[in-house]
Symmetry: C2
Subunit: 148 residues, 2 copies
């Protein structure tokens, strides 16, 4: 069972920005730091901006920063937005399922309940919770030792 | 977020066998019924046999049937066995993670907790729960209308 790489990287970007405090970051900086391609990050940053989670400032001294406090960014919400679908099994998709029992099968309901439980746990976490070992995390990301 | 096709098909095979009652089924029959390739099913049946969930009888009048009552087959257990890994994000894998913050990141813990919640919901379901609309399901699978 996997989340997409897109979701994984989205969470990494937010953690990076959270650890920067109010300071602006650039896509190049995040790309270099995590070793993630800039192309991958461009789309993620664009989507996070559109969703109002981060703010992007154009121009020479531009960059990006969180648009909300880390305490206000729920991880469950981020995962819900970032995952392209929650097609846990084939019959969850929007396309008609090829499975003959799709109409009467109770598996989809059980999996849906399980998925809800998964996301509810993540609703209990905010970005602030994930970046609590600030000193260590800032050091690993070469952000210096001064926490916000 | 997705389970593998292997897990999806494993659950379908078990539902089919559950709906057959004690009667033997063949791989060909299940393959024809769901439109799933026999090659796919061979591996699934082999693994379910090895795990003691089904019994396979060789020979001309051979076939397969559940080795336990549907009430004793927990869906959480089946999913745990069938999924090759639960690498929800990259750093869950056994290979060293390329992520610089892997050592201090709290995301993995949050996702692990969410995954546990997901599987615990499925532990609350047995195969018997999933095949309750027996009449409809048997009819959709062209198994006749007589329930066990």
């Amino acid at each position: 069972m996997r989340l997409t790489v897109y979701t994984d990287y989205t969470l990494r970007v937010l953690m990076y920005l959270g650890l920067k405090g109010g300071e602006r970051a650039t896509i190049k900086e995040i790309s270099d730091c995590y070793g993630i391609s800039r192309n991958h990050l461009m789309k993620i940053v664009q989507d996070l901006g559109r969703d109002g989670v981060i703010e992007t400032i154009r121009g020479k001294s531009g960059g990006l920063h969180l648009a909300k406090a880390p305490e206000e960014i729920r991880i469950g919400d981020i995962v819900r937005r970032a995952e392209p679908d929650f097609q846990v099994v084939e019959c969850f998709g929007t396309a008609p399922s090829g499975c003959r029992i799709a109409g009467s099968c109770l598996l989809a309901g059980a999996l849906d309940e399980a998925l809800t439980a998964f996301l509810e746990v993540l609703d209990g976490y905010t970005l602030a919770d994930l970046i609590k070992p600030q000193r260590n995390l800032r050091s690993l990301l070469a952000l210096g030792t001064a926490a916000r």
